[in-house]
Every structure is written in structure tokens, then in C-alpha cells.
Symmetry: C2
Subunit: 389 residues, 2 copies
DNA sequence: GTGAAAGCGCTAACAG
DNA sequence: CTGTTAGCGCTTTCAC
């Protein structure tokens, strides 16, 4: 199909000549390269091509692009020049085949509507990128075993797996351990001793919120839970309820918001329609708290912070918007992601590292969505914080 | 370093025996496999291993995992069984080395704070995933030539590049064309004939907003621009201004919000502080419109929709929240992403396809953040739409 | 410091 | 349909 024509361009004939002069070059390859110039079917430029142009061995080219390899300045010069001229880019996929490291991190996230997730992804991308890793994104369904997706991830030979707000089946955990793949959960815990995890301080945060609401004189407390299957929501509920119990309060009312806007809105509706509605609602995360605020205002004509107190968890960007001014316990996402990256890299360097469960403390950021107690307020770095005592 | 010891486990000895029986197996490999069982340094299982266990050739294994290859049911059975037993997963990276297709799509996004971006990414991930592609994420700085990042992307041999809300340097466009890499811009246009693009209907949307505000009886109009360098913001401004000019209105006031929250808030502040402040502000996107609403309410005590009209562009999830109830021209992100994916796949199948610039129409979704004209309202599928006769 | 050669795990002709 | 063979583009001993 491909034919060598006589009136090829100058560059082409030069190429062919130089190739013919190359002893180890087989005819098949020559044809290919000739064909390239004829029908425009461009073959990506390889280290071989660069080597040829630079008049060095292919390994010299490789060394030039491999940090920590020893090449003379002269060779490096020649190679670099040739590479630029040809527009050469090392093929990372080929590299990873031999090094056994893809420099790719698999990240799963259950959608991005919740700002906490998008902020997490943003940080993950940025910080991993600084460390020389790229992120391959996998969307999952919330509250669903993502094993089939994870199965996919592994085929790409990711160097590590970061699961944001989703749990790890024990089956899959074993699988990962077997192949020596580091797994880190972000914003969710695991009882498997295989994966590491980084979470906010769910127990103490929820406890602080309980104390804050009690100190504010609230009488009828409620909790809007996230996904029942989520360790995060359970921990927050536990922290909240156990504090209340310890202080002699009745168990809080309860509704389930599943971490979704609609579901949380419905939960709020239900709570506020009761004969004795709550005077304070603690939502398992900011996203649901914002839904609650929307519903309380638009459907129940309540003035949030006066007739009703609403508190969230996360301190996402939206919480600080004046329109919401949400009081919430913060999860310092940037710090948390820093920890995740650190754990991943450490594990990659030292395979024998035990898994660790890290808890990153936050603070109760006070704004105006909930009545403010008379005492306990502090101003730290310009943000209003509350703490008991 | 590795030594063959005599008391290896049963599995190990069996393995070694079977390997020795394998003629083309070199001793190096035998040592490696033996070593694996000794020091626990697990070598990922390969098609070779599966072939051995199944008693077939390695290509038979490959074929069973390559769709469209012909394998007898019997062979497939044997292979599948062996693969499962060993926990075999084909190495996509190795595959792409030979097929020349990585099944990876590079996606760049300028941060995820703006919900439009996160929604776009979400859709991209979902829809590409359904088509068998994975997304590699690259965060970029807004309004910055992302060439260095793109340089990185190419090293991973992505099959295509999707740039969300960022422009393509002509230098890089050439580069991409040379290597035959499809590039699609989402939410931004390009004058280069190399890349394709999918955008909302910026001109007509902005025009409709102009008409809507005029019909609502507004007198002093203002525009808050996005990044000056963005085609999107320029097109919207042009549509807006030219409509006003055609109707004999003065040119709208103008401030720059750079698509960022803080910057848009500052722009709003500036506009509303003027001696003759605007009675209607059209913001180049929803994110800035929300900033404007926050500022108008909290700092100027205005009742949005009464004292002041604020209109956005995108119709993101937040726009529909009762607290904002933002009137905005919609960009059907799902449809837009569908188009992007379609273009990418078509181009991948047919390299000679010309680049195309697609415009996806939206509609003016009317809520309560702007005064509503006496005529022109329609109810379509439960949403309130406005259009000039 | 440098080139030759082996091979990472896989697919794709090619004979049978 | 099946096994054999030849690489995909790269890194890494190993001699020199």
C-alpha cells in the first residue's frame, strides 16, 4: 500500500538516507518511516529517533531523561538538542512497564456536588501533582461497594488508591494487600488493618457541637444523619448523642439525609413538621446543613439563627458565605490531603510500613446560623471559635 | 541475594517444577519466582503465569481478555478459571504500548470551586467511563497558558485532551495536531482550526438576558465580566452590549470579576457604591452572580429581585436553591459533555475528521433574583422560561 | 560514561 | 482456533 515515491521532500530523503546508514535498522522500519512522510500517518517520535539524530545510543537518551542517571554534559547537550528538534517526549507508560511504577494515583469520589468532595479532589490533584503523581479519577455511587470500579483501577497499575468518602470491602482490602497496593481512605475509617485512613475529628467535633448547642440553651435537639453505612456519620452521631446523654438530655430526634440535598431537605421538612419540632439541628455535613437552611427559610419561614439553629460539619467554602453564615465544625481539607499524600508516599518508599489511622483535629467555627452561647467564644486568627470551658 | 532453599512450600516447589518443564523459561525467571515465595516480594501475576496454569499459550490468555478475538469456549473457560485463581488482571499500560491507545483522556480544569466546573468534571468522568475511557486530571491555574502541564499530559500518551474553560496556545495546538491528538475545548472557543469546541449559546443567551432586563423596566444596567482573556466572557458581553446598543440604551456599566468569588464580590461592591448604582447586574457566570447576591444582601441591605436584579449564566445546582433563586441562562452541562465525548470518539475513529465548533442552546430560566417582565413568561416542563415573543 | 542486549507485559500478524 | 514470533518504547544490568 505504501510506496516510495521519487520526489519526496528534502527532509524525507535525508531521513531515509540517514536511516539506511544506520546499520542495525531493519527494512521494515525504514519502510515505516518513509511511509510516515508520505501519507502523513505520524508515528510518535521515540528515544530511538532521538538517539539517531544525536548520534548516540538509545540508552544515552534514556539516561538523559532519567533523573539520577550519569550522563556526560556533552551527551546530554546533544540529546536535549535532538529531542527538542524532534519534539520528543518520553513515554511514561513504557517507562512504568519496566520500573513497575506508573506514577498514577487512583482516586474514587462519590460525585462532586458536595463541595467537600470537590475541594478534596482539588487538593489531591494539586498536592499529588507537586509530588510528581497524576490522578486518575473514578466516580462511584455513594454507599455502594465500588469493587467493580476498583477492579478497573488496578488494570491501570496505579501506584496507590485513595478512596474519598467511601468504604473498602474487606474482600478488596485483601486483594490490595496481596498485590502490595497502598490504600488510603479519606474522610472514612476502616476496621481493616490493611488500609490507612485520614479523617476529621468526628467524635470530638460532634461532642463540641453538642456542648455548643446545650450552652446556647437549646432544648429540643435533632440530628440529620448521612448515609447509615458511613463510619463518618455514625461517629458524629455517637459523639453528639453520648455527650447529650452524659449531660442528662433526652436522645436527639433523628432523621436521615443520606448526604444528599434532596434527602436532607426531606428530612428537615419532616423534622420541622412535627408537633414539637427541634429548636436546633445538627446535620452530619455542611451540604445537608445548607439544604436544611434552605428548607427552614423558604418553607417554614424561620429565621435561621433565631427561631432555629442549624449546625453543619466540614466548613466548606459555602459555609462562610454571608447568606448562609453556617456554624460548623471544620475539617481542614488541605491538611487532611497533605496527610494522605504523605502516607501514600511513605508507604511507597517503605512497603513494610504499617497502616495508620490519622485523625486531624478541627474547630468549631461560629457564625450566625445558630444561637451563640454567652461564654466560650474566642477569636483565633480572625475566625470565631467556640470551645467549652 | 535470593537463594533457593530446600524446604520451600508445596506450592513453590510445584511452581518451580512446572517452570523448569517450560522450555523457553530462563533461569533468571525461575529465581525470581522462587524468590517471590521466599521473601514475600510479590511479583504481579502476568498472562504468562495464567497461561502456564491453564496449560495454554500466552496468546490464548491475551485473546480471552481482548474483546473481538476468537477463542474457543473451552480455552476461554480454562483461562478464565486460571486467571481467577491467580487474581490476574491484564495490564492496560502494557496493552496500550502495543495498541497505541491508552484509553486515557486528559482533562484540565481551573479549580473546582465553581460548581459549573465540578459538574462538568463529574459528567465527563461518568460519560467517558461509560465509553470505556478513564480520566486523568490536571488542575490548571485560571487564565494561564497551561502548556507546561499539557507537556506532562502528553507523556502519558492520553488518547485525547479535554480542556475545560481554558484556552489553547496556538503553539500547543500545532503540537497536538502534529502528533494527531484530538483536542476539545469545553466552554471556551478557539480560533485555531485544529481543536474542536463545545460551548453554550453565549451570544444569544446574553442577548436574551439583555432583552429580559429591558423588558423588566431596568434603566441602569451593569455587566460583571469574567476573565478578560476568556472568549466566553467576551461573547457574553458582546451579546449583551450589542443588544442594548441596538435598543438605544447606553453602554452598560462594567466591572471585572475574573470568575473568582472574591474578585466578583469586589466588583459588586464597586458598582453598588457608585453615585448612580446599577439597578440590574448581569454576571458572566453563576458563581460570580452568587457572590454578587451575597454582597448586595449583606453589605448593601438590598433585597435581591426588588431593589436590585441580578442575573447569572450557567444554571448550576446552586442557582435553584431557594436562598438564591437565581435567574440565569442555562448551559446544559450534561448535553455539552455528551457532545464532547461524541466528538472525541468520532475523531478517534476517524482521524481525518475536521474540527467542529458546536454551540449548545440553553434557555433563560426565570427565578426570583430579577424583576420579572409582564409578558414573555412560559412554563416548560415545570421550569419558568422567558423569551422575547 | 557509554553502547549492547535483555526484557517489562502485552497484542498482532503469521503459519499451521 | 491455536501457538509461535516479533516487537510496542523504555530502563537497566553488564562489559567495556
Amino acid at each position: 500500500m505504501h510506496m516510495l515515491v521519487s520526489d519526496t521532500s528534502i527532509e524525507t530523503s535525508e531521513l531515509i538516507t540517514s536511516i539506511k546508514a544506520w546499520p542495525s535498522m531493519n527494512t521494515q522500519r525504514v519502510k515505516k518511516i518513509a511511509a510516515q512522510s508520505i501519507d502523513g500517518e505520524r508515528r510518535p517520535v521515540t528515544a530511538h529517533d532521538v538517539a539517531k539524530l544525536a548520534g548516540v545510543s538509545q540508552s544515552a537518551v534514556s539516561r538523559t531523561f532519567t533523573k539520577g542517571a550519569s550522563v556526560s554534559d556533552e551527551t546530554r547537550q546533544k540529546v536535549t538538542r535532538a529531542a527538542k528538534e524532534l519534539g520528543y517526549r518520553p513515554n511514561f507508560l513504557a517507562r512504568s512497564l519496566i520500573t513497575g511504577r506508573s506514577k498514577i494515583i487512583g482516586v474514587t469520589i462519590p460525585g462532586l456536588s458536595n463541595q467537600f468532595y470537590s475541594a478534596a479532589l482539588d487538593s489531591l490533584s494539586t498536592i499529588f501533582s507537586e509530588a510528581g503523581y497524576r490522578i486518575m479519577l473514578f466516580s462511584t455511587m455513594p454507599d455502594e461497594t465500588s469493587d467493580p470500579i476498583l477492579e478497573e483501577v488496578l488494570r491501570y497499575r496505579v501506584d496507590a488508591l485513595v478512596l474519598v468518602s467511601s468504604s473498602l470491602s474487606s474482600h478488596f482490602a485483601d486483594e490490595c494487600q496481596q498485590i502490595g497496593l497502598p490504600v488510603v481512605l479519606l474522610n472514612r475509617k476502616t476496621n481493616s488493618k490493611i488500609a490507612s485512613s485520614v479523617t476529621g475529628d468526628n467524635r470530638n467535633g460532634a461532642k463540641a457541637i453538642g456542648a455548643f448547642l446545650v450552652a446556647g440553651g437549646h432544648q429540643r435537639l435533632a440530628y440529620i444523619a448521612g448515609l447509615e453505612s458511613s463510619s463518618t456519620s455514625r461517629d458524629r452521631e455517637k459523639g453528639f448523642s453520648s455527650y447529650l446523654a452524659a449531660k442528662g438530655f433526652a436522645a436527639p430526634m433523628r432523621a436521615v439525609g443520606n448526604y444528599s440535598y434532596e434527602s436532607a431537605a426531606a428530612a428537615t421538612r419532616e423534622l420541622l413538621s412535627r408537633k414539637a419540632p427541634p429548636d436546633a439541628i445538627f446535620c452530619a455535613n455542611d451540604y445537608m446543613a445548607l439544604a436544611a437552611i434552605n428548607v427552614a427559610r423558604s418553607e417554614f419561614n424561620l429565621t435561621v439563627g433565631h427561631n432555629i439553629s442549624i449546625v453543619g460539619f466540614d466548613d466548606t467554602e459555602l459555609a462562610a458565605w454571608p447568606t448562609f453564615s453556617l456554624t460548623t465544625y471544620s475539617q481542614p481539607i488541605r491538611t487532611m490531603v497533605d496527610r494522605v499524600v504523605r502516607i501514600v508516599i511513605d508507604t511507597l518508599l517503605n512497603k513494610e510500613m504499617p497502616s495508620i489511622q490519622e485523625v486531624v483535629p478541627g474547630q468549631l467555627v461560629v457564625r450566625e446560623s445558630a444561637r451563640i452561647p454567652a461564654i466560650g467564644m474566642k477569636l483565633i486568627d480572625g475566625v470565631r471559635i467556640w470551645s467549652s470551658v
